[in-house]
């Protein structure tokens, strides 16, 4: 965002018009603006703070007084409990990472190939094929026929493929990729063709390196989709061992599944085992990587949005 911010009218105005005294309206505008945006930013952060605060609260305090904005005790019991027998969390992490990496790479490969083919002006059927893909966003058979296709005819119930395949390709990503690739000068392709390069070689050696910003954006959109997906697991996965992170969190939150912890040991001691705080701790553990990576990847998403806002 850094470079774009400099282009904003407000910034420039400060430089050119700094001699002019700020009038009352501008002062009022600034007060309203800073207050409102600060408030909205805090609101965007508060729920996250609540989860973190909840995860570090003592279970007894939750039971007697409930969750609080600022808990009066601090306890690491919930995290100790999560990591006392971490196999289940590690397993879910493994499933999510595996599905995210495999799905994003495969999805990126297929999306970029399709995007490239459909961006080539000498590809006669590019418009009808694009519409063939685009039409699926306009009309669909609905959830149930799709579900029956997945389970009855493809036999994907309780298979990892049920997590990988549904988010793999989206018409939106293909159209976005196509418009990224359309911006590559045609003369590059033409001169390579004259040199006798085949279409796939041109794609691999010339187009892919030239479209890294586009690939990064779409790859990150795909990865985020896989990381946050709980729906497909909810529809198709029945074995606990195959739960991805978000679905495990969902199950723990809805108390449908209990995290395997050594809470049994609490029966002897006169302590309450963490259950409510444990839910919060799992939420933190599951979301942590996204929040940690967020500052580094944010600009790619902004780029994708501003390119995508212009019609492909």
């Amino acid at each position: 965002m850094g470079t774009e911010v400099e282009k904003l009218p407000g910034v420039r105005r400060k430089k050119t018009g700094s001699k002019i005294k700020q009038d009352k309206a501008t002062i009022a505008f600034n007060i309203i603006g800073y207050t409102l945006l600060a408030l909205i930013s805090i609101i965007c952060l508060v729920p996250f703070w609540l989860i973190v605060a909840g995860s570090f609260t003592d279970e007894l305090e939750i039971i007697s007084e409930g969750f609080k904005l600022f808990p009066s005790t601090i306890s690491f019991e919930a995290y100790r409990s999560v990591f006392s027998t971490p196999e289940q969390i590690y397993r879910a992490y493994g499933v999510t990472i595996g599905v995210t990496v495999a799905g994003s790479l495969l999805g990126l490969f297929l999306t970029s190939m399709a995007g490239y083919a459909l961006s080539r002006k000498d590809f006669l059927y590019r418009n009808s094929l694009s519409f063939f893909i685009y039409f699926t966003t306009l009309f669909s058979g609905g959830l149930i026929p799709w579900y029956i296709m997945m389970t009855k005819y493809l036999g994907l119930k309780d298979s990892y493929w049920a997590l990988i395949l549904p988010p793999l390709l989206s018409a939106w990503n293909i159209i976005l990729m196509r418009s990224f690739m359309k911006s590559i000068p045609e003369s590059i392709v033409e001169s390579a063709k004259i040199d006798g390069a085949g279409d796939f070689l041109i794609y691999r050696k010339l187009i892919l390196p030239l479209s890294t910003p586009g690939l990064a954006t779409i790859g990150l959109f795909l990865a985020l989709g896989y990381w946050n997906d709980w729906f497909n697991a909810n529809m198709f996965i029945t074995t606990g061992d195959k739960y991805p992170l978000q679905f495990l969190l969902y199950k723990i939150l809805s108390s449908a599944a209990v995290l395997q912890t050594n809470n049994g040991s609490y029966l002897a001691a006169n302590v309450v085992p963490p259950t409510e705080t444990l839910k919060m701790a799992v939420a933190v553990v599951v979301t942590g990587p996204v929040v940690l990576l967020y500052p580094f990847v944010q600009r790619y998403f902004v780029k994708g949005l501003t390119v995508g806002a212009v019609k492909g």
Binding site: Y34, M113, L129, G141, M149, D199, Y203, T306
Partner: protein, 306 residues
């Protein structure tokens, strides 16, 4: 180039390009086009042993039931009203944020605010479910505060009234950063000359926004609204399911077409009825988006989808 000769010649000429797009086409044929045949279930009394064409054909009976029982009307009303609230309130909030972000001068502040506002977009809906649990359960923050203030606690899970606002709030909360980025890009494309000229004429910042920024944002605003209206029958399944789940007490105010179809499949096993509701949604959604696209094509041709 015409007919089969043209196709075969083109297939031969651009073999590799066809091969490159082929896996994608196969994907959409298998996961989108073949399931379209499955809308036939909507016209049957589904029989698990019979499968697609072994089930008894009952014509429009499923639709008749959905219509006469009032289910379809309630679902449509909820879906449309929620979407209207999301679209109108969401866009207004995003425009306000974008205008302030564009005009304020502190670079540091703008960057931080924009990052924080965009953060919810990256979080999963399951985490939103965790927020709702943390805030509104018996032990939730809201009830803790009520107790501390010496007030009666409130059982959210028995009341339909607050959930409408909670759902709308979290939808706007999650999308605010996304929309703000789009409107900010539109504001930044406005020429600086307009503002300079207005300043020379003595217009203050509010007048500049009202006379320059808002009118020039209008086309973007109208287009985004129009396209959103085209999708007004599509529900945000994640949002409703993670916040409400299978709490039957709250269906009256919170059931949308997507949650109804999902329950038909996973709880009631009413395949015919669920498919019928889904087809109703798809069909009228299609008609809506075609209408919207037709209108845009007549008025702003360059923005039409196809």
């Amino acid at each position: 180039m015409s007919g089969k000769g043209g196709l075969i010649r083109e297939l031969n000429r651009n073999k590799v390009l066809f091969l490159m797009v082929a896996p994608t086409l196969l994907f959409f044929i298998v996961f989108s086009y073949i399931p379209m045949v499955g809308v036939y279930y909507a016209f049957t009394k589904f029989d698990f042993d019979g499968g697609l064409f072994g089930s008894e054909f009952i014509g429009l009976k499923n639709f008749e039931f959905l219509f006469k029982s009032g289910i379809l009307w309630d679902l449509t009303k909820n879906t449309v009203l929620y979407n209207l609230a999301f679209i109108i309130l969401g866009n207004i909030m995003q425009i306000i944020c974008a205008i302030f972000l564009a005009q304020l001068t502190s670079k540091w502040f703008k960057k931080t605010a924009q990052s924080l506002m965009f953060l919810p977009y990256f979080l999963s809906w399951v985490l939103v479910g965790a927020f709702v649990f943390n805030l509104f359960s018996d032990l939730g923050v809201v009830n803790s505060v009520l107790t501390q203030l010496g007030l009666q606690t409130y059982d959210f899970y028995l009341q339909t009234a607050p959930w409408k606002y909670i759902i709308v709030f979290f939808n706007i909360w999650k999308g605010i950063g996304y929309g703000t980025v789009i409107y900010l890009a539109a504001i930044m494309s406005i020429s600086e000359d307009y503002y300079e000229a207005a300043k020379i004429d003595g217009a203050n910042i509010f007048q500049q926004i009202r006379r320059i920024t808002l009118p020039l944002l209008m086309p973007t605003f109208i287009l985004l609204i129009m396209f959103s209206l085209g999708g007004i029958l599509k529900g945000q399944f994640d949002l409703f399911y993670q916040i409400i789940g299978n709490n039957g007490m709250l269906y009256e105010a919170t059931d949308i077409i997507d949650t109804y179809v999902f329950r038909s499949l996973t709880i009631n096993f009413d395949i015919g009825m669920g498919t019928a509701a889904g087809l109703y949604q798809s069909f009228f959604g299609f008609v809506l988006i075609m209408t919207v696209n037709y209108i845009i094509k007549k008025t702003h041709e360059e923005y039409a989808l196809f």
